[in-house]
């Protein structure tokens, strides 16, 4: 009896001691190559931090956004680290939903984070999320088709050049489209591209008094150019094409040019999955000579919700996943071409990375040329290049995106789409109290 009691007591004590010793943190993330790779490399973190266990929750982007928003707004405390984008960070930080990242460790080189990316993740000079990977957008083009069309792509093309090249590269008989652009409705799909494109045409979502600007000639010119270009040189059914659909088309050799996320460069140049891997060239997103290019800025970043009880452990994890040493860890296991891009200046100065990623310089130039605090030609009251960092934008962007997608599909005219976009935006902004 005594022995049984002793054994039971020891077991309980051991269990309690282990429970007290090991702290587990829950990380919410999206399913993409870089994030999956990070999950596979977490042994490195747990070896260095044996007292911290990691639990992963991987969700589809929109479900993740909804889940973490619900949790953070209700202080549910389900997550200790969240993967969020450049859109959420300024809004959530201002709401007091995120902890500032003040204790990332003495070795953590905050100054090495690319300034444009750090700017998008900071509020009042304080960093509220650490970038895991960053991206802008640029032109990916087929060098062989460009040559066949008798053209040379400049490093910094204009929209006139792109339109002309797209028409000349189109070869319907061989199923080659001059250009592939996003058409699928959504604030993060077609509106990411169109908002960035409109910046280069001098358009803006709102003036300084939050008056919607879809009735201005700059938006009309943007939409006319986009719709007519896609009709003449785009793929059929383009209104349902998002990032993944265009990626597949480009990899199969069905696009002469594709303007999209810089992160796509590693996919289209991967000979395992791309039939045109050795024929791809890169250029900056086009402009109209107005001082702004049609490229965006985005970073998937790790942030710590204010409701967490495990801030210290969470911060250790964020520091590990976004530090320079993590890039070296990925490079040692999977090669330099597979390190998460777009976060650290030192990566772009690394000759080994430059050799492994021929698109490195163009990526950095694209990121550096995007300014979320001054995204447009004319002044605006908001932050964000391809989005407007206000809580209403997700809904607004998607509603307007549906109208523009319908215009691309030929279900309504550009004029009707713009008129309805203006009316919708005025109504929503009045309801939200921005327009008095």
């Amino acid at each position: 009896m005594r022995l049984t009691t002793l054994v039971l007591g020891l077991c309980t004590a051991s269990a309690l001691a282990f429970a007290a010793h090991a702290e587990s943190i829950t990380i919410a993330t999206v399913n993409n190559g870089d994030m999956v790779r990070m999950q596979k490399l977490t042994d490195d973190f747990t070896k260095k931090n044996p007292d911290i266990q990691l639990n992963w929750v991987t969700l589809e982007e929109n479900v993740l956004r909804e889940r973490v928003t619900t949790d953070i707004a209700t202080k549910g405390g389900q997550y200790d680290v969240m993967t969020i984008g450049t859109y959420e960070v300024p809004i959530w930080a201002k709401q007091g939903w995120l902890l500032p990242l003040d204790n990332l460790g003495a070795d953590y080189d905050t100054a090495d984070i690319i300034p444009a990316i750090a700017g998008g993740l900071s509020v009042d000079g304080k960093l509220y999320a650490a970038p895991f990977y960053g991206e802008s957008s640029f032109v990916m083009y087929r060098k062989d088709l460009m040559e066949k069309a008798g053209l040379t792509m400049p490093d910094a093309p204009t929209w006139d050049f792109i339109v002309d090249a797209a028409k000349k590269m189109t070869d319907r008989a061989n199923d080659v489209n001059g250009i592939c652009l996003r058409g699928k409705a959504g604030w993060g799909e077609n509106m990411a591209f169109l908002t960035a494109m409109s910046n280069s045409f001098g358009a803006r979502w709102f003036d300084e008094k939050w008056q919607p600007q879809f009735d201005q000639p700059e938006w009309k010119k943007t939409m006319d150019t986009y719709v007519s270009l896609m009709k003449e040189a785009g793929p059929s059914g383009a209104s349902s094409n998002g990032f993944n659909e265009n990626l597949a088309l480009f990899q199969q050799g069905k696009c002469g040019m594709w303007i999209d996320a810089t992160v796509a460069a590693s996919f289209v140049s991967d000979p395992k999955n791309s039939t045109v891997a050795d024929k791809v060239g890169y250029a900056l997103a086009p402009d109209n000579g107005l001082g702004k290019r049609g490229n965006w800025l985005w970073a998937w970043s790790l942030a710590i919700p204010a409701g967490t009880q495990k801030a210290a452990a969470a911060e250790k994890f964020v520091s590990w996943a976004t530090d320079k040493a993590y890039l070296e860890l990925v490079a040692s296991k999977e090669g330099w071409a597979n390190v998460p891009p777009g976060t650290r200046t030192s990566l772009y100065n690394n000759p080994e990375y430059q050799k492994a990623a021929p698109f490195a310089k163009m990526t950095l130039d694209s990121i550096n040329s995007a300014d979320p605090t001054k995204p447009t030609v004319k002044p605006v009251p908001y932050v964000g290049v391809q989005f407007v960092a206000i809580p209403q934008f997700q809904s607004l962007g998607t509603q307007v995106g549906q109208l523009f997608s319908a215009a691309l599909a030929g279900q309504m005219s550009v004029d009707d789409a713009l008129a309805q976009a203006q009316a919708t935006t005025v109504r929503e902004m009045t309801r939200a109290g921005y327009i008095k």
Binding site: T26, A28, V30, N31, N32, G33, V36, Q39, K40, N55, W56, V57, T58, L59, E60, E61, V63, E66, R67, T70, D71, A73, T74, K75, G76, G77, Q78, Y79, G188, F243, N244, E245, L247, A248, Q251, Q252, A261, V263, A264, F267, N273
Partner: protein, 274 residues
């Protein structure tokens, strides 16, 4: 002649039934086919012949622990069904054999709760779950699924019970059976096909429920619906992996449905023809 017409009609109906069955089954079949393709094939367009690669299954297995999600699905689906039936049997008994003026209204009200959009009550439920410590717990999810499916269980049992003549229960009462004895020894054995099909249908509904199971769980209680959701990717090709995950998630319920189809059909048509 009459015989020939009858055979032809029978053949036409058989073909029609097969066509309808194939149309209904086709999305599942195409999911299975897509799971056997490479990612490039999967997004390339409509194609019924895959390259029969198991690459996606390997990827899915290396990224997530299928068994943990599977066990959560089993516990939540079976648990919510068992508790739901325990509550619904007495409720349906009283409505079928001891109805009041308001019974029909109560039944309609119960059904009307199914018409409410789940998103409308997400935040209140989330707060309740948070305050009772039920977030990411199998107990919480079992209660939730039991509650949302209870109206259907009560309705189905009520329909089956109404087909059983009240005189039989009366006779049992005359012989001295208690209320529970009447339900347990007389009503339940007679209603076995109906109860079994209700349970099977409820397990299927609970297994496939995605809104609450994804939103109220994180790591510990996440069932197979969360397993599927984790393979949708914002950047990169994912259709083959998503199809492989879906195939793995629906396989157990498909197999269960296949083996219990006789029971299911018998229960669903119970009392339909007199």
């Amino acid at each position: 002649m009459a015989r020939a017409v009858s055979t032809r009609t029978k053949a036409i109906w058989t073909v029609a039934a097969w066509i309808v069955a194939l149309i209904i089954f086709f999305p599942i079949l195409y999911t299975i086919i897509t799971s056997l393709k490479s990612e490039q094939e999967a997004i390339a367009g409509f194609n019924l012949i895959p390259s029969f690669t198991l690459e996606s299954y390997g990827e899915v297995q290396s990224q997530q622990n299928y068994f943990k999600f599977f066990m959560n699905s089993v516990i939540i689906a079976v648990g919510s069904t068992a508790i739901g039936v325990l509550i619904a049997v007495p409720a349906a008994w009283s409505m079928a054999f001891a109805p009041t003026k308001k019974t029909k209204d109560i039944l309609m009200w119960m059904l009307s709760t199914k018409m409410m959009p789940a998103a409308a009550v997400l935040v209140p439920f989330y707060l309740l779950f948070r305050d009772f410590g039920l977030l990411d717990s199998r107990a919480g999810l079992t209660i939730m699924l039991m509650m949302i499916n209870l109206p259907i269980v009560v309705w189905m049992l009520y329909t089956y019970f109404r087909e059983i003549p009240g005189e039989i229960l009366e006779a049992a009462r005359m012989d001295g059976a208690s209320l529970w004895g009447e339900i347990w020894h007389v009503l339940m054995p007679m209603a076995v096909p109906g109860i079994a099909s209700t349970m099977l249908l409820n397990i299927i509904l609970a297994w496939n429920e995605a809104f609450w199971t994804i939103r109220l769980t994180t790591t510990e209680a996440a069932p197979l619906t969360a397993f599927i959701a984790s393979f949708s990717s914002p950047q990169g090709l994912f259709w083959a992996k998503l199809s492989a995950a879906s195939t793995l998630a629906i396989a157990p319920i498909l197999i269960m449905g296949w083996f219990s189809q006789k029971q299911l059909v018998r229960g669903l048509t119970f009392g339909a023809v007199k």
